[in-house]
Symmetry: C2
Subunit: 473 residues, 2 copies
């Protein structure tokens, strides 16, 4: 056994037998060197090992502290991830499904035939002919003023008073998340994510070298507020990043009541939230679900959204409601992406100034609703009884739960050989605690090609289940 392991073992006992209590400060590295007689390197390695095990946590310039007892918190399933490594997996996945030959059930993007409305294309066509559409210089942060004004008006219509100066235009929604996260954190900070969440959030955490605390989903409320508050109390969390509306990949939308309670917790602890709300417009009901931003009285929430899911992801135009963090975000933007294509911003201003967008959204919503119902009915009828799928009235994803003994990554790999893509768990959960879910994109009309793909999926699941049952008879 290495010396550092010896020391770590010894310290672990002190924590487990509660000689050292939760949130108690550990001896400094220097003190520990003197106390233990081990070298500085040995002490550092031991502390880092304990941190990796989630037994202690570090605060910048303050040292190390005992984490909440694992047993105490186990019932709430708060998990710590010290080093995120998901980008390579996502990279390989996206490359594997990129070809047009692949049936895109695993795609993150809505069927493009439902986007890029005729009016939008007409607007782009007309503007593209005109020299004045190409601004003299690229639009600097925070982006096109008219576009920010229109976005601000849309917030205002939802009961969120907004000034154009609150908005920063970004290169799509992912850029909005990245910039917000970078503005609020430094390498080594703790952030909080939902346990199962859009891979872009995990990638951003990896890029910025952040430690991730996760809270589990709640079967009814969507978000487990008790686990959430406990995580906030137990860890020095700099910022949370969550999806509350049409959550990707699961699909649920958190109720207004839960959102209000979440807002109260945020305010009570003065915790910031980056709200990823890119599916906000894809609700099926009569009333648009409120964003968390609606409940924000103290500028604690950075609301990120984009036109990628409603007009087209190829435009790369998103935004963040940055409020008082606007200048900070612009500074980071100036050092990285600089600005957003100015022609597209001009074209969006022209298009959004008319009623086209609302009409387009209405059509888009009803089409997605019709398609999702069709997929749901089909899957609900034909999936093996051991699989379940929930219907949530928004967006274009279905999240299929498989028996626990199935590994969705293997299912993805086998279907890919048949030129069919599905999105496995591994993309949405860097902790890899659960592997028995797949996400299905249901924004494509069920033609022969899609029908065949669904049949292959169901057949593969049935085979794997049968195989398992045979082996365990």
């Amino acid at each position: 056994m290495y010396k550092s392991e010896q020391l770590a073992q010894h310290l672990k006992q002190l924590i487990e037998n509660k000689t050292w209590k939760a949130h108690e400060k550990l001896p400094s590295l220097r003190q520990q060197v003197e106390r233990s007689g081990f070298s500085l390197i040995t002490v550092m390695n031991a502390y880092q090992e304990l941190e990796a095990q989630g037994l202690i946590y570090s605060k910048e310039k303050s040292g190390y502290f005992v984490a909440e007892n694992q047993h105490d918190s186990a019932e709430k399933h708060v998990a710590i991830n010290h080093k995120i490594e998901i980008n390579s997996i996502v990279f390989k996945y996206l490359k594997s499904i990129q070809s047009e030959q692949i049936i895109p059930l695993g795609s993150a993007f809505p069927n493009s035939q439902l986007l890029y409305s005729a009016k939008l294309i007409q607007t782009l066509g007309q503007l593209a002919k005109q020299r004045r559409s190409y601004e003299q210089t690229p639009s600097l942060p925070p982006g096109n003023y008219e576009l920010r004004k229109i976005i601000a008006q849309r917030y205002a219509m939802q009961g969120i008073p907004t000034d154009p100066s609150d908005i920063v235009i970004t290169s799509g929604g992912l850029d909005a998340l990245n910039l917000s996260l970078q503005a609020m954190t430094q390498s080594g900070d703790y952030i909080l994510l939902q346990q199962t969440l859009f891979y872009g959030a995990w990638q951003a955490a990896e890029r910025l070298g952040l430690k991730v605390i996760t809270i589990p989903e709640h079967p009814v409320d969507g978000i487990d507020l008790e686990a959430f508050e406990q995580a906030i109390l137990n860890y020095p969390i700099k910022v949370c990043l969550m999806m509350l509306n049409s959550q990707n990949p699961i699909g649920f939308t958190v109720s207004d009541e839960i959102k209000l309670r979440l807002a109260k917790i945020l305010h009570r602890h003065q915790i910031h939230l980056i709200e990823d709300d890119v599916y906000e417009e894809l609700y099926y009901g009569n009333k648009k679900p409120l964003s968390m931003k609606y409940f924000d009285q103290q500028n604690l929430i950075l609301h990120c959204s984009s036109f990628s899911k409603t007009l087209g992801a190829g435009f790369r135009v998103g935004w963040v409601y940055a409020g008082k963090y606007s200048e900070n975000i612009q500074h980071i933007q100036l050092m990285s992406t600089l600005s957003v294509n100015s022609f597209i911003q001009n074209a969006l201003v022209e298009y959004l100034s008319h009623r086209h967008y609302e009409k387009h959204l209405k059509t888009l919503r009803s089409t997605l609703q019709r398609l999702k119902k069709q997929y749901f009915n089909y899957l609900n009828t034909h999936l093996p009884t051991q699989c379940t799928v929930d219907y949530y009235p928004s967006g274009y994803f279905l999240w299929i739960e498989l028996p626990e003994y199935l590994d969705s990554t293997l299912i993805y790999q086998r279907l890919l050989e048949k030129k069919i893509s599905v999105a496995p768990n591994i993309l949405f959960n860097a902790t890899m605690q659960n592997k028995n879910h797949i996400r299905i994109n249901c924004s494509f009309e069920i033609n022969t090609r899609i029908q065949t793909a669904l049949e292959h999926l169901i057949e593969d699941l049935q085979q794997q289940i049968d195989l398992h049952l045979e082996q365990h008879e």
Copy 2:
């Protein structure tokens, strides 16, 4: 005096009296703690202070080393910058000159009336009408294949064998620089820049937390090869970032002979170079200057360029010749900007597939040459005799040298009150060693507005010089 200062003072003497020789390893922190009796924090602070003074340097996982004696290297003016803080200055500057009311002599962008050719706008107009121009999903890294193929062919025509897979499309040239630098470095690494260089390079260094070694310009060769090789020998430089063609802001183009010698030094020491070559097409002569990439036999050079200076900066389309670093750069891209507007990429493919681009470039070059000559002749005739301006046959910048007692930042501020912008030294030199230069954009036709601006500039300079001479009579 703090303990750490005491210790630093003591160690400094050991270095200065050559008890410790250049590149000798210092005692480890732990050894120094034992040897000196000071605490770990004190020793760390002392080492960091010596590093900040450039007396020692650090190598990751290897410890601290004595730097080349300052006296020995002083004649070559190699400088170290441990913490770059330029972004806020650039941010304020760009915001201050953004209004269309401001006469844009300080702009970095070429006059947009010379870009966005009629044929290009026609192409955009035709494609924008067509649904097929909007790809199904955003084009993932490395970007549109056809566009990469065209770019690869253009390299091949210049004698640089290139495969489309060598190229990664980026959101403009600045994104190309940022991605390349991020792929090649980690926070705390040393990089080498030219002493006076485009602010984007400094901003990238700041963003990534890099230490910057600078080498001075050479009055004849452009780059001082002796200083360059000395810097490489003296510091653990991870990568260099330089402009060799139509250097921004100075304007010089390094000769083929010097480039070949530079390439030999790079190869001898196996040092990577990120070559910022965004002005490559704006030469006035009959033959396009070679890029450093041309001399690269070992894939040590990442060549960055863009369409911003020839077709329009609003498009945000650049690229990097990444070669074997392509996948690494794509990984970083997937975690940050994700992709580049797919419609614009499609439109560029269409436009570049015909001979329009070459014709457009020919017109652009001759227009810029005519304008630069006009500006140069005017300034050379009317500037106070204490000011000098050199004519380099490329690009659209003139770099005016003022008497050393003038501060270009004050000149910029005074002219801004008259709604005239000029670009002061401070934007191009984070060390702020020189303050007596301004950059003038000469891509605008000399109409009454520009004429008045030039007169105001000359008048201000004359007044300041007169004032100085009066005070020092």
